[in-house]
Amino acid sequence: MPVSGDVRGAPARGRAAGFSDWLPGAAARRRDLVDAFVATFESWGYSLVATPLVEPLDTVAAGVGTRGESRLFRFMDADGTMLALVGERTVSVARVVATQLQRAPLPLRLCYAGPVLRHTALLNGRRREALQAGCELVGAAGVAADAECIALAAEALVRGGVPGVQIDVGHADFIPAVLDSAGLDGESRRAVLDALRGRDLVAVEAALETTEVGEAERRLLLAFPTLRGGRDLLDTAALDLPHARPRAVLDQLARLWDLLEGHRVTGVAHLDLGAVRDWDYYTGPTFEVFSIDSGFPLATGGRYDGLLANFGPELPATGFVLHVDRCFDALERRSAAAPPSPARVAWRAGAQGEALHLASTLRQRGVAAICDLDPLEGEPDDDVAAVVAFSGGDLVSIAWTREQLA
């Protein structure tokens, strides 16, 4: 069917640019995916919390950093307070923990699911509204908490049906520790960090060319995109490093890896010492989860011991977020399974009451059912009062007489 419209037209009538509608079928499958994620979180003892879509700008800014702040949807409350639509939800959970749950026994295991909004440029293939589901484990400083979050994120993705899950574990202090122990400071440290932040190996090479750096540190930094492997990677890296601080990071990762073995996830995990993450936000182990079916990380997480102090006492915390829409895109790309359609109850004139009762009985048995609003056309049939049709399964139709329905 041709669709009317032309290039002069406004975007889809009544919908803001950069946002999506989720249509029948897709909307339900997306909801099912979130439900599978949250059910996994709850099975690990994480309690669901719901926080507002709107927070004071100062609160939201604490979570997204100064670079992210410009990408928030901002507006003013009646009293002049600057508000923002949340760009991620960890900061809201942190606020709740530091205020209303400050007397709760630690550690606290909380989870959430909801939309987040970013004022990203149009036409770059990114949605402005995204669904995120995540967990926060607050009040636990050890690597056992980090391992739990990593294993839980991976399990949630697997339970959601995401194929080919692969976990990359890094540490937010490794690169800064290497830079510091290499004696880098001021301008040269900033140049190397900026290049790493831009994932630009060519710029890292250029920045190190003009800088005095120890041979071991130089080799590590120049190999940053390839510093990946299993537990033996830690021994190889430690051999080279004379300084205590990066070695302490490696020791911590070794303990974390042993715990991940207990969680039975090391089969799909790598250590990634060159992982590029927000080094100002994260303070310890970090991780990302990938799938062969997506060009984007599907889960991102890590330890953020500095965040809670924005709202109250300092508390160690670790957590992660699942990017539900990216997961959904990866799943939809692969599976073409037709959604189960509800059974349809059709009826002859005079049998509407019995048909409604039949539909109700089906629903009570867990079968989705639609009851026709109008009778079947044609002559009344004494033998058949109502018909149930399943379009998805094998059973195409069953006919009932009035006596059977009664």
Binding site: G125, D168, L201, A203, E205, P225, R228, G295
Partner: protein
């Protein structure tokens, strides 16, 4: 062999990219092959040919695992990909040029400038970094004409040899950057196909080094 999908830039960098891929033993392709199909496979690598400015888009979105893009394109539309290797071909410079005898050509940067460019984002960052007020005019081709007709005080553009600038009586006022072709890689591909990506990066790095040595000799 690699199982990777690689995006090739159409236009000025295309021949250089083909030569380098052949020298590195990655794939043998040519303009003629792409005339028949949009996506081709050679030696286990899938190749697509797209407009240079679209390369970072294909790579960031994961439609290609990796791509060959000019640094000038990466400046203009920064995307979240890894930039792994300087491929050392397609050299050009990003320059600010003004008509001979104009105040800017004589070194007078005062007043507000009107600057024509195909690279509005790069230009905006460049002038912001200098704290110079500039009104950026975005054009899509024949940038020099904007200065010749007086629509703009200066042009902000890439130049390889400077011939076009000289032919249009424009003089270089400042250099804003030096560009070469780069290997860019999708974030997830680097992690999920790391062996293939690292092998490709190593092969291209080696070929680029010996290639540019020959060029220097």
């Amino acid at each position: 062999m690699s199982g990777l999908r690689l995006a090739m830039p159409a236009g000025a960098l295309f021949d250089g990219a083909c030569e380098l891929l052949a020298a590195a033993g990655v794939a043998r392709v040519s303009e003629a092959v792409f005339a028949r199909a949009l996506m081709i496979e050679d030696n286990g690598t899938t190749l697509i040919k797209v407009r240079p400015t679209d390369i970072p888009v294909y790579v960031e979105m994961g439609a290609a695992d990796c791509g060959i893009a000019g640094k000038d394109v990466l400046w203009e539309s920064p995307r979240e990909c890894y930039e792994l290797v300087d491929l050392r071909f397609g050299s050009c410079r990003m320059v600010l040029a003004a008509p001979e005898g104009s105040p800017l050509a004589r070194g007078d940067w005062s007043g507000s400038l009107r600057v024509a460019t195909k690279y509005p984002e790069s230009a905006r960052r460049y002038f912001a970094g200098l704290s110079v007020t500039a009104e950026i005019i975005r054009l899509h081709g024949s940038i020099e004409l904007a200065a010749i007709t007086g629509m703009a005080d200066a042009v902000f553009d890439i130049t390889a040899t400077g011939t076009t600038l000289r032919a249009n009586r424009l003089v270089e006022v400042a250099e804003a950057g030096r560009s070469t072709a780069r290997l860019v890689v999708n974030h997830a591909a680097l992690k999920t196909k790391s062996d293939a990506v690292n092998a490709l990066a190593a092969a291209l790095r080696l070929a680029a080094a010996s290639h540019s040595d020959e060029g220097a000799a």
